[in-house]
């Protein structure tokens, strides 16, 4: 069981053990800037989509982010069949930050900004 089951409700980030630390940092920073805490779920090395699915299932906020070993990012909601957001391995840092922010916006019911220019980045 991850730390998502304890403490405040969180967006659960499930990162591959080999996930680039920079990607993980940007994703978590994006959620934090929106005021939503994240928790880290150790991932056994599945695909980013499967990791996101696990994260969403584990999150009391029903939102999970999966990060692959190549830096690909997937955002999922536990009740939504399709991925909400998918980023390729070479996405710029700004888009990775935006993905984390969008995961937080799902929690707050805010409009997603994926695809819009990132402010100040």
């Amino acid at each position: 069981m991850s730390d998502a089951a304890e403490g405040p409700p969180t967006v659960v980030v499930a990162a591959h053990p080999g996930a680039p630390p920079g990607v993980l940092r940007e994703v978590r920073a994006g959620a934090e800037e929106q005021g939503v805490p994240t928790a880290l779920l150790p991932d056994a090395g599945s695909s980013p989509d499967a990791a996101a699915r696990r994260g969403a299932a584990d999150s009391r906020l029903q939102v999970g982010v999966g990060i692959g070993d190549d830096g690909a990012v997937v955002v999922r909601h536990a009740l939504v069949p399709d991925a909400v957001l998918v980023l390729g391995p070479d996405a710029p840092a700004g888009e990775q930050r935006q993905a984390g922010a969008d995961a937080a916006r799902i929690v707050g019911g805010g409009a997603l900004r994926a695809g819009e220019p990132a402010a100040g980045l």
Binding site: Q34, R97, A111, L112, G120
Partner: protein
């Protein structure tokens, strides 16, 4: 039995009504059709649309390719309308005095007043400092540098950032201070100047910097200086965060922009009125010269250009000399448009005053005979022109169950709003006034800052909702609708229009309530104002109370809220107002087309 098709060429749509008529027997209406009008109404280019409308009506009647005995056309006269909008006020910030915007996520809370210092210049300053952080700085590095500076004894009281990092930085500070972020032109913040940074708690707006005496207390201003900075306070009202820098010549000014004059000419005199005086002044000038004979705009201005374009289009359409073309009506509407503030550092947007103008020119020189000739050649049948629009429309409207003479109709179209009255003596009177659906679309587009005509049109035509989760929306009336399948991410969290094709996102960051107010106000200021204005012109002695009943016709009568808004406005005058239902079955459409068929059938019975 003769197969006849009545066709009404309107500004936006061409409507047809196919029927079988026989001497002495009741007319059997078979089907109706609707197609976009081709070309300007009342010009030879209409023929293609007329042929399409006739063929579609026959197809709808299950008789494609049937031999038509007669096509009946209305005596359509060209109506050209134009629109222009002038922004008549502007806000200018000089010397980068002020940053007043609403970043989504400012950091910290409270008010910090100190001298502006660049991050890499931090260290050894006496007195409180406001740290200015440029582009590309990492949030961890910034927080670390600020914490180290505080440890060294620097009194860091606030920070201003380029990136969207305010919460991240504030969360890592040992001493909690207000942090404003997303300041795109942070490199233009003057350094070494006294500045104040204020961030309000979530859900609140700033209090000190948005208040003249708050600014006076913050910057130790005297009475005269306080008077000078009061525009700054006004400009910051309603924001959650702000930065004010005190510079020697810094200022925020509201300025009226001269945008030219209109010359309105009546039967006996002309009056010049400045467009920047606003809609009320323009409409008052038009009222003083009534009846209006012509309107001219100052050359070189938007309004002058629009009026000239309307005139030129009519010259092209009718072949009449320009000197004979008169602008017969103008509707001016005050509006507010979001405009990027000149000199702003964070893309600040200010709501500025603007005036929208609709103008209309009408001619009696119809070229419907040319249309008739083309249609006759295309369909191989007799084509007759008959019936002045207003008369035919009012007779068609009279077939609405429950209506009675005297009866007035209001047809709210795209470019103009038309009214006609049939009185007890059988006389009809008709008027066309400028301003209708296109002006409403333009007002919605500009007031919401959409810059997207299609989105504005969607806002005009459909109710709004907010997508509150992947599985439910809250409609503008507060009701909730659940969806069994997840809604797509591109509508999540957004204000949407509820269209027959599904939910369409509206590109705004304003709440549903605000968008709704803009939509309804635009409709009220154009359709309600124009319905009353046009009806007053045809009403006996100009009194709406003498109208009896008013039937709403045309596409806008199918709008989900316009008929009720017009009916509400007419209710105090004791007028029965409702949506037309031609022959009890056709709704508000087809009044003219069906009216042409009825008139033709009546002529056959009593030749």
């Amino acid at each position: 039995m003769r197969l006849v098709v009545g066709v009404d060429v309107g500004n936006s749509t061409t409507e047809a009504c196919a029927a079988e008529v026989d001497e002495g027997r009741e007319t059997e209406r078979l089907a109706a059709s609707l197609t976009p009008t081709t070309g300007v109404k009342g010009t030879p280019a209409n023929a293609a649309g007329v042929v399409t409308a006739v063929r579609r009506a026959l197809e709808a009647a299950g008789r494609p390719g049937a031999v038509v005995d007669t096509v009946l056309l209305n005596e359509a006269t060209p109506v050209i309308s134009g629109l222009a909008m002038e922004t008549i006020s502007e806000t200018i910030i000089t010397e980068s005095t002020m940053i007043g915007h609403n970043p989504e996520t400012p950091g910290g809370e409270g008010l910090g007043v100190g001298t502006t210092v660049a991050l890499d210049e931090l260290g050894g300053q006496d007195g409180p400092v406001v740290v200015v952080v440029g582009a590309g700085a990492d949030f961890d590095d910034v927080a670390h540098a600020l914490n180290r500076a505080v440890e060294r004894g620097v009194d860091v009281v606030a920070a201003v950032l380029h990136g969207d990092d305010a919460v991240l930085v504030a969360n890592r500070l040992d001493r909690r201070v207000p942090v404003v972020d997303e300041v795109a032109a942070v490199d233009r913040v003057p350094l070494g100047m006294l500045a104040a940074v204020e961030v309000a708690p979530p859900g609140r707006t700033i209090r000190t910097l948005a208040d003249s005496y708050g600014l006076a207390s913050t910057f130790s201003l005297d009475a005269e200086q306080t008077r000078q900075v009061s525009p700054v306070a006004r400009a910051l009202a309603g924001t959650r965060s702000a930065v004010v820098v005190r510079t020697p010549e810094g200022d925020v000014t509201d300025r009226r922009i001269p945008v030219g004059t209109l010359t309105v000419t009546g039967a006996t005199r002309s009056i010049d009125v400045g467009v920047d005086e606003g809609a009320d002044a323009i409409m008052a000038a038009i009222g003083r010269v009534a009846p209006l004979q012509d309107v001219a705009g100052e050359p070189g201005t938007h309004v002058g250009g629009m009026l000239a374009a309307v005139r030129d289009t009519m010259v092209d359409v009718t072949g009449q000399p320009a000197a004979e073309i008169r602008i017969r009506d103008v509707l001016a509407v005050d509006t507010m448009v979001p405009v990027t503030v000149q000199g702003g550092l964070a893309g600040e947007v200010s709501r500025e005053n603007a005036v929208a103008l609709a103008a209309m020119v009408r001619t009696s020189r119809s070229r419907m005979q040319a249309v008739a000739d083309e249609v006759a050649a295309a369909l191989g049948c007799d084509v007759r022109i008959g019936g002045v629009e207003g008369e035919v429309a009012v007779r068609g409207a009279l077939t609405t169950p429950g209506s009675a003479v005297p009866i007035a109709v209001v047809d709210m179209g795209g470019g103009s709003t038309d009214a006609a009255l049939l009185d007890r003596d059988g006389r009809t009177d008709a008027v066309h006034v400028a301003g209708a659906g296109e002006l409403v679309t333009k007002l919605i587009d500009s007031e919401l800052g959409l810059d997207d005509r299609e989105a504005a049109e969607s806002v005009k035509r459909h109710p709004l909702a907010k997508v509150e989760s992947f599985f439910h929306v809250r409609h503008e009336d507060g009701s909730v609708q659940f969806f069994a399948e997840a809604l797509p991410p591109h509508v999540f969290g957004r204000v949407v229009t509820v269209t027959p094709e599904g939910l369409v996102p509206v590109p705004v960051r304003r709440p549903v309530e605000a968008v709704r107010v803009v939509r309804r106000e635009a409709k009220r200021r154009v359709f309600v104002v124009n319905a009353l204005r046009a009806l007053a012109q045809v009403a006996p002695q100009g009194s709406l109370r003498l109208l009896g009943s008013v039937v709403l016709l045309g596409g806008s009568a199918l709008d989900f809220e316009i008929p009720a808004m017009v009916a509400d406005a007419l209710a105090p005058h004791g007028v029965v107002c409702g949506i037309g239902n031609v022959h009890g079955t056709e709704g508000p459409r087809n009044a003219v087309a069906a009216g042409l068929v009825d008139a033709h059938a009546a002529a056959l019975v009593a030749p």
